[in-house]
């Protein structure tokens, strides 16, 4: 084992964990003040629940063994349950750092993925149902997807798609699930009739800063070492975020006449999403291309919800689903041997593989989540009542007030 690699991976674990509070504030600032605690809670609780499901079974299902169906490796087994058998070595993964660090790193990804979904269902979903949703989803949707792409499963193996740090597993997965869940959940009362404005852009901007910072752990940590590949993933991450943010406000300037702070940070996140699957495979100029593409396309994709009339409250589709797809596809076109360590060759064939993996990931996540959402809706109920929605989730779900300026 290598202490330098271990040092960087420990740091990366901490950085990725920090993204979930970052995301909470990114989202929390965008909702109305009566719903901010409800929003923060839906994110933070993922740090509680997913840690438990992951340690107990998720990690094992994703990263231990292989159950094959028709020759396709579709899921792991329960051998690693409770992480008991992990021990203190690096035998399981054979990486230059201990297995427990790798499991921790993967846990942080498993936490933030369902948290990402919460943006789509803002301001109207029950907390208890959300908690149950997150627990089940992390086992039946996230763990298989992680297994297919990173755990030796068929997407890596048979489809031959590459996903450096989670374009499929994290962003497309979360985006597809968000779409399914919001369709079952329905729109917020007053959507498109009332002005539903962000109550605190400073919180959103703070959260975006935390996300950007943590994302270096996400992407450069996914090199699984402290070396030039990590360095390159770090660099491409920074470039894509910067270019997408800049392109986004340029687009705003052209389309609406004013660049906005929300636009800048939204663009940054779009760029970060899109570079995620590609970070370790492309170079600085490839990262620029991905940044520019995601800035423009995600910005345009904001219109989808108005065109198709679904209330994706904080634009999980436009940013994570669309951004994830852009990244997954462009990885197939822009990857360079030098940067990917000779892992694979970009080209039309690889593009096809990437596209196929996108379809599979979308279909699986959307389908499973839709069923889960329907079941939960019929059993526990997904939505708060209209009166609860009007009083705000902070009071009705948590009986707390976000800001008490009385004294």
């Amino acid at each position: 084992m290598d202490s330098g690699a271990t040092a960087w991976m420990l740091t990366s674990c901490a950085l990725v964990l920090f993204m979930t509070p970052g995301l909470a504030f990114f989202y929390g600032g965008m909702v109305r003040s009566k719903n901010v605690l409800g929003m923060l809670m839906k994110n933070y609780v993922a740090m509680g629940i997913v840690t438990i499901t992951w340690v107990l079974v998720g990690a094992s299902l994703a990263f231990s063994g292989a159950v094959e169906i028709g020759g396709y490796n579709v899921i792991g087994n329960f051998d690693l349950w409770g992480l008991r058998e992990l021990g203190m070595s690096n035998d399981h993964f054979g990486l230059p750092y201990p297995d427990n660090v790798q499991m921790m790193f993967q846990l942080m990804f498993a936490i933030i993925t369902p948290a990402l979904i919460s943006g789509a269902i803002a301001e109207r979903m029950k907390f208890t149902t959300w908690a149950v949703f997150v627990a089940i989803w992390s086992i039946i949707v996230y763990a298989p997807m992680a297994h297919w792409v990173w755990g030796g499963g068929f997407i890596a193996d048979q489809v031959g798609a590459f996903d450096f740090a989670g374009g499929l597993v994290v962003h497309i997965n979360a985006g597809a699930a968000a779409l399914a869940l919001l369709l079952v959940l329905g729109k917020r009362t007053g959507w498109r009739q009332q002005a539903i404005r962000p109550h605190s852009l400073p919180l959103t901007i703070l959260g975006a800063g935390m996300l950007w910072f943590g994302w270096f752990g996400f992407n450069a940590g996914s090199a699984f070492n402290a070396d030039e590949f990590a360095g390159n993933a770090f660099l491409t991450t920074q470039i894509a975020a910067a270019v997408a943010a800049t392109v986004w406000i340029l687009a705003e300037q052209v389309m609406h006449g004013k660049p906005t702070t929300l636009g800048f940070v939204s663009g940054a996140v779009a760029g970060l999403v899109a570079i995620t699957p590609a970070a370790g495979f492309v170079g600085p100029l490839g990262a620029m291309a991905i940044g520019a593409a995601s800035g423009l396309i995600c910005f345009s994709a904001l219109r989808l919800k108005f065109m198709f009339n679904f209330d994706d409250s904080l634009d999980v589709i436009a940013v994570h689903l669309v951004g994830g797809i852009i990244g997954a596809l462009l990885t197939g076109l822009l990857a360079e041997e030098l940067y990917s360590g000779g892992l694979f060759v970009a080209g039309i064939e690889q593009f096809g593989r990437q596209a196929l993996s996108v379809v599979i990931a979308f279909a699986f996540s959307f389908g499973m989540t839709f069923i889960l959402a329907k079941v939960l809706d019929m059993t526990m109920g997904l939505r708060v009542t209209v009166v609860e929605e009007q009083s705000g989730l902070d009071l009705s779900l948590h009986e707390e007030q976000s800001y008490v300026m009385a004294e």
């Binding site: 009566k34 007053g190 009739q193 009332q194 002005a195 009166v387 009007q390 009986e399 707390e400």
Partner: protein
């Protein structure tokens, strides 16, 4: 001239404002407030310390109107702010002796 004050539920503000606009009102001023009334409060529990909070967030709106428009303003607020549940709020009407538009110095009805 009258000053019509109304305490309403915050989520009704947009609707009330649009309705008043429709009814010919040319201006109003809104303020965030905390109201206590018949609407039962709620219990907030912070780390085991329970507080009966009987102040709920309300919006207080204030409209200066000409005497003739006052009844319309009142009924418009009544109609749009009403949900039928306790806490819908109240309207109070006060007499105004004079109104001045700062920009022009106009006075009285013209200033509204």
């Amino acid at each position: 001239m009258k000053l019509v004050i109304a305490y309403i539920a915050p989520f009704k503000l947009d609707e009330v404002r649009d309705a008043l606009k429709g009814a010919g009102v040319t201006g109003l001023t809104a303020i965030n407030a905390q109201g206590f009334g018949r609407q039962s409060g709620h219990t907030e529990t912070y780390r085991g310390a329970e507080y009966e909070v009987d102040m709920v967030p309300k919006v207080r709106i204030e409209v200066l109107v000409d005497d003739t428009l006052a009844p319309t303003v009142i009924s418009t607020i009544e109609t749009t702010a009403r949900t039928g549940s306790i806490g819908d709020g109240k309207i109070a009407v006060l007499a105004v002796e004079d109104v001045i538009r700062i920009r022009t110095g106009e006075r009285g009805r013209d200033a509204i």
